[in-house]
C-alpha cells in the first residue's frame, strides 16, 4: 500500500521541483534529508528505513493539507524513501512552489518538522563495526 509519499526508489530533487513548478510561481523551496556518515560520533555505513505504511501515507497527506491551510501553498511534493540507503543518499525530500518566497520557505520547514515529529517511520543505523541500532530520538 505504498502510496505517493513513500517510495522505494531514489528521491530526486529535480523531480520534486518539477512537480511543484508553475508559470505563476516566483519561488520554489526544497529540503533534502540525506544519510550522514556518522551519528553521535559513530561511523555509519547506511540507514534502513521502515514505516507503518498506510498510517505514514495518511499522516504525510495530512501534513501537506495542513501546510496548504497554514501557508496557502497548493504545490507541495513530499517523498520519503524506505529500504536501506547508503551514505549520501536522500531519505526525504520536500518541495514547495508558490508565487512568493516566504510561504514556500515557511511551508518546507513546517512539513519537514511535522514529518519528523509524527509520521510513523523508523530507522536503523548500520555501523562500520557491523552492528545495527534502532534510532530513538527521544532517548
Amino acid at each position: 500500500m505504498t502510496g505517493p509519499h513513500l517510495v522505494r526508489c531514489p528521491v530526486v530533487a529535480d523531480a520534486l521541483l518539477a512537480r511543484v513548478g508553475s508559470d505563476g510561481h516566483g519561488a520554489a523551496a526544497l529540503f533534502l534529508g540525506t544519510v550522514r556518515d556518522r551519528n553521535l560520533g559513530r561511523p555509519v555505513t547506511g540507514i534502513e528505513y521502515s514505516a507503518y505504511e498506510p498510517m505514514a501515507e495518511r499522516e504525510m497527506a495530512r501534513i501537506v493539507e495542513e501546510a496548504r491551510d497554514a501557508f496557502g501553498v497548493t504545490a507541495v511534493a513530499l517523498e520519503h524513501r524506505l529500504g536501506t540507503l547508503a551514505v549520501g543518499e536522500v531519505s526525504v525530500g520536500v518541495a514547495v512552489g508558490h508565487a512568493h518566497r516566504a510561504p514556500a520557505l515557511d511551508a518546507v520547514r513546517f512539513v519537514i518538522e511535522e514529518l519528523k515529529r509524527r509520521v510513523p517511520i523508523w530507522k536503523r543505523e548500520h555501523y562500520v563495526d557491523g552492528t545495527r541500532e534502532w534510532v530513538d530520538p527521544t532517548r
Binding site: 514505516a51 498510517m55 519528523k116 509524527r118 509520521v119 523508523w122 534502532w134 530513538d136 530520538p137 532517548r139
Partner: protein, 89 residues
C-alpha cells in the same frame, strides 16, 4: 478466556518487530480493554521473551491509524499498532 474477551493482533514495527521476531503479536484482552491495556499487554509479552533487547521506554498506540489516548477503548476489528518513537527524515 471468557466469551467476552477480545483477541487483538497488535501490529509491531521497528524495535518491537525485531524483539518479537514478528510484525504482530496476538493479545487476549478483557472486553473493556483500553489503549493502556494494550501497552501493558505488549510490555508483559516482551518481558516473557528470552533474549529481547530493551524496548523504547516511550511508546504510543495507534488505533485505526491514528494516535490514541491511553483511556481510549479498543474494540473488536480495530487496527491496533504499537508506535515506538518515530525517526523519519
Amino acid at each position: 478466556m471468557s466469551a467476552s474477551a477480545l483477541e487483538i493482533d497488535v501490529l509491531l514495527f521497528a524495535s518491537f518487530a525485531e524483539a518479537f521476531g514478528s510484525d504482530r503479536v496476538r493479545l487476549s484482552l478483557p472486553a473493556d480493554a483500553t489503549v493502556a491495556t494494550v501497552i501493558a499487554g505488549v510490555q508483559a509479552a516482551s518481558r516473557a521473551l528470552s533474549d529481547a533487547p530493551p524496548l523504547p521506554a516511550t511508546v504510543r498506540v495507534a488505533v485505526n491509524q491514528a494516535i490514541a489516548a491511553p483511556e481510549q477503548r479498543v474494540r473488536a476489528g480495530d487496527e491496533v499498532a504499537i508506535i515506538p518513537p518515530v525517526a523519519g527524515g
